[in-house]
Amino acid sequence: MKFSLTWLKDYLETTATVAEICDALNAIGLEVEGVEDPAEKLAGFRIAHVLTAARHPDADKLQVLTVDTGEGDPLQVVCGAPNARAGMKGVLGLPGAVVPANGMVLRKSAIRGVESNGMMCSVRELELGEDHDGIIELPDDAPVGTSFADYHGADPVIEVAVTPNRPDCMGVYGIARDLAAKGLGTLKPIAMPAFAASGACPVEIRTDDSEGCPAFYGRVVKGVTNGPSPEWLQARLKSAGQRPISLLVDLTNYLMLGYGRPAHAYDLATLSGAVVARRAKDGENVLALNEKTYTLEAEMTVIADDVQVHDIAGIMGGEHSGVSESTADVLLEIAYFDPARIGATGRKLGLSSDARTRFERGVDPEFLDAGLDLLTGLIVEMAGGTPSEVVRAGSPPSTAKVIAFDPGLTTRLGGVDVPEAEQKRILESLGFAVSGDWQVTCPLRRNDIEGPADLVEEVVRIHGLDKVASVALPRMEGVARPTATPQQKLERGLRRAAAASGLNEAVTWSFLPTWAAEHFASDQPLWVLANPISEDMKAMRPSLLPGLLMAAKRNADRGAASSRLFEIGRRYFRSGNGLSDEKPTLGIVLAGEKTPRGWQSGKAKPFDAFDAKALALQLLEAAGAPVGNLMVMGEAGAQFHPGQSATLRLGPKTVLARFGMVHPATLKAFDVDGPIAAVELFLDAIPAKKGAAFARPGFTPPALQAVTRDFAFLVPATLAAGDLVRAVQGADKTAINGVRVFDVFAGQGVPEGHKSIAVEVTLQPGETSFKDADLKAITEKVVAAAAKLGAELRG
């Protein structure tokens, strides 16, 4: 909502300054979004008298003027306007002034070799209108030398954001009422121009849709003279950002912007038969005033005559029956439409208008007759004509809400003590009626008031939220109790463990291009947005890796040598009830150089699958997963290199992580250079620690020293080292407490189809040291266990 100070003062008797008014508006919940003070914009522009005008020696279209500025010698000014001539009065911008329309700073200059000391301005240059055909011509009595801002009556314009719960403030009068309640002045009664109505309304008015249009009032005014509006009306509409059109249109807009009351004027000559509020027929068309044709549906309310639809009720009038310069007889419409239906219709048609904004929030049901009389009176006063009596179809809601209010609630909910008398004053000044026993009757225009809490809000916002004192929340005794859940602790710990491993935490979009999401999709259908903001942000991610791969690509394209990124976030799947199943996940992408070329290390080295494995295990351990029990298995997914990727599982079914090298086809799809290693940890699969106490199980380091024995086995080339290690580990569970592969070799000396794996076995004696016979027995068990896998001890 925008309005000028003058307009506000039409309704509010006040001596407050603009600054005081703005502070008050902010304080009562009408947030000031801006104040435009034309006096500031027009600083440096003054009224000047053109003394002489002569052709520019070097330019046909330019003139050289001498201009009296009211002080000192006349100035020479070069001007290109065709209407510039000796004797006229206009507006001169002096050097240093800023042209409002384009921000240009005026300075003394030479134009085609002739000195110019300022600029004579057009209406458009000063943002006072569209006209740019010539410079402003002021009346002969305009005082030369006066600041143009003062002469023009520079009127500050205030813009406020009206929250959707306050339709009553969608007109300047409502804002004046709120300010008066705040104590900024006195609300003036609405000035109703007198007029004499005669004769019944010659047009039949009906509402056949009492749900969508409970009330439809009309009146005909015959013999009006349409034309341009008077200056005061134009100035008010312009301050609200409305373009003046014609008197009849401007007056309906004035009623809407000044009093929050949309109305419509039809050219009576274009109507035929009864004018009826009814439901639209499916597929019915109307050409609206915005020159667009809308196809209507049966849930929408329209105003129509015998022939066609003339108005999308409460939203926009029709082009066909709108008033024009030649309109002589008008039918005025003031109606009450169901707010929900207006909103639904507007959304469906994608059509916004000032009328819709007001009707869908709810206009004042008590302001139909008065609004119509006000509009009629203004029309008769300015456009002439003879008004008929009002015809009324239906009736607007009339049951006022009565709330049993306990003024003590203001303290209990609002946290501020407001004397009862003051509470009563505030409510009454806003139009509420307060009975002796605090039954509060709400004005019908305040459809936002539902219960006592709303009345507290009214009292507190007018009394002043700044008077609410801070009160400490009650506190539990002693030190604050821990609040984090196991899942939260897991994520926090993992985040810091990953960062401590040299990875940078990224936050990438939850949505992906569909192709990228599909590339990583499971067997479930993806969540794909119906109204994405772009094709790149359309499908919810089924994996954290695509977003990280795309980041790695961006980084590589920017010349980054490497990206070590991780992210902790959700993957989006579907649960049984049609809702989402969002799985907490940690993703890692390692791209580019693991180590750059170096004087010690030689060539740059890329990341490999064991870098991914190391991170996966390290982070799973940090997450408290039983890493000693994990199995390395396949099926990391089609996005991974089939021979250089694996899953880490707890039992054959529970996959805790996948890791490895990204598949070349995936690299190609994401248009990024490899090799790239990746890890995904499935945090929801990590078993929670159950009932862990602070105290650890008892432990004393063994008194006897451990011994190691090395074994080199010849095994089939296809045997997984992990299987051999597990077999050896299991050969003697008491004595063997560690098995470590320290060499893997194939080639010379190893038969074709085989490889050699050397392991170091750590043996921990218990109470007594191992005897030779013990060691021999253990060795035999190890060899036998390995043999079951086809491993043969090398000589």
């Binding site: 902010n26 919940g29 947030e31 929250t163 707010p339 909103g343 959304r347 209990r412 909910l413 946290g415 501020v416 219960g451 809490a453 507290v456 809000e457 507190v460 916002r461 939220l465 700044d466 004192a469 801070s470 009160v471 400490a472 929340l473 506190r475 609040t483 984090a484 859940t485 939260q488 985040r495 463990a497 990953a498 960062a499 401590a500 040299g502 990875l503 940078n504 935490e505 990224a506 936050v507 979009w509 939850s510 949505f511 969540w527 947005l529 119906a530 994405p532 903001i533 990280l548 980041a551 961006r554 980084n555 490497s562 990206s563 070590r564 990124l565 809702l579 989402s580 969002e582 004087w599």
Partner: protein, 366 residues
């Protein structure tokens, strides 16, 4: 019999002149070795009469002691010189670079979420979460925005074509407020929670991204009022920005889910082109900046969430996490948050060891 003193003198000179351990060993053999002249001289003592022995022995014994001592001293000197030479040969250029371990970082959004959790834990708030793909009942209806509510249109909602089994619309949550509803339904009252997380609006320009982070706060109890809300936000901001001069201004506003509704402004000043939170917004050189929405939870919302509004009341607030992170740590481009650029992450990210704690101050200074 040769002249022992002069022989000794010659031997000592030769020892001092030995340049290597080998030369020194040759001197040792010549003197104290089995066939060395000192050893031989000592042997002659056995064949002497006591008188002769008494006369000859001291000279031989002292020659032996002097030579042995000289040999030891020279040996130590030569060994020290050899070690020194060896060490000199092993000198390396330590201006050469060492292998650098890569330095990881925690994203500012995560860091600030940890700070929030730490501060609010002290005030007795737990951290709650909820789904990001929501149904319209939790995101709108239960928050007092029925289908026709004009405020719904202001939310720029992302929708999915899907429906829940109950036929509800499925959407990306537009705010963290549905977590209020879920938490109250799950836990009842009294309750104190914050709910940080990702939220989505179909809005994108220089200062808006379609995904961003919010934190919701909710306190429901028997006698909570606006004064508690103001104190809680003040207390939080003081702890978060680690300054005592935080000044809040409450302005009446409108949110369907609160009544009364309050917009929260914080006073700030401009220092070096940056907004610095602190001070009174009306003080010279200061201004107010909107920092969040809040209010007393609407009775309808309480009822939707299964609580009796006659018994329970409380407040809720919502803050932009990215926004307060930017204010505290000086980032100026929201879009960079979601880019994954290691240069930005290294600059604005945090060391893993900057774990926010109350005792050390939750913030990490540059």
């Amino acid at each position: 019999m040769t002249d022992i003193p002069s022989q000794t003198e010659a031997a000592l000179a030769a020892i001092v002149a030995s340049a290597t351990l080998d030369a020194l060993e040759a001197q040792r053999l010549e003197t104290l070795g089995k066939k060395g002249w000192v050893s031989l001289a000592l042997k002659t003592l056995g064949g002497m009469s006591p008188e002769e022995r008494t006369a000859a022995a001291p000279a031989i014994q002292s020659a032996r002691a002097a030579i042995a001592e000289a040999l030891d001293a020279k040996k130590a000197a030569l060994e020290a010189a050899e070690l020194e030479a060896a060490l000199a040969r092993e000198t390396i250029d330590l201006t050469l670079p060492a292998q650098a371990a890569s330095k990881g970082s925690v994203h500012p959004v995560s860091q600030v979420m940890d700070e929030l959790a730490e501060i609010f834990a002290d005030l007795g708030f737990a951290v709650a979460t909820g789904p990001e793909i929501e149904d319209d009942w939790h995101n709108f209806t239960a928050l007092n925005m029925d289908e026709t509510h004009p405020a719904r249109a202001m939310h720029d909602t992302f929708y999915f074509p899907d429906k829940t089994v109950e036929g509800k619309d499925v959407l990306l949550r537009t705010h963290t407020s549905p977590v209020q509803i879920r938490s109250m339904l799950d836990q009842g009252a009294p309750i104190r929670i914050i709910a940080p997380g990702r939220v989505y609006r179909s809005d994108s320009d220089a200062t808006h991204t379609p995904m961003f982070h919010q934190v919701e706060g909710l306190v429901i109890d028997k006698d909570i009022h606006l004064g508690h809300l103001k104190w809680t936000l003040e207390t939080f901001f003081k702890a978060f920005f680690e300054r005592e001069d935080i000044t809040l201004r409450l302005r009446p506003s409108y949110f369907p889910f609160t009544e009364p509704s309050v917009e929260v402004d914080v006073g700030y000043s401009n220092e070096g082109g940056r907004r610095v939170v602190g001070g009174h917004g009306d003080a010279p050189g200061h201004a107010w900046m909107e920092i969040g929405g809040s209010g007393m939870v609407n009775a309808r919302v309480l009822a939707f969430a299964g609580l009796d509004p006659a018994e329970w009341q409380g407040f809720a607030f919502g803050l932009g996490i990215d926004r307060i992170a930017m204010l505290k740590y000086g980032m100026n481009d929201l879009r960079a948050f979601f880019d994954g650029d290691p240069r930005w992450l290294a600059h604005y990210g945090f060391s893993p060891f900057d774990q926010p704690t109350l005792s050390a101050g939750v913030g990490a200074r540059a």
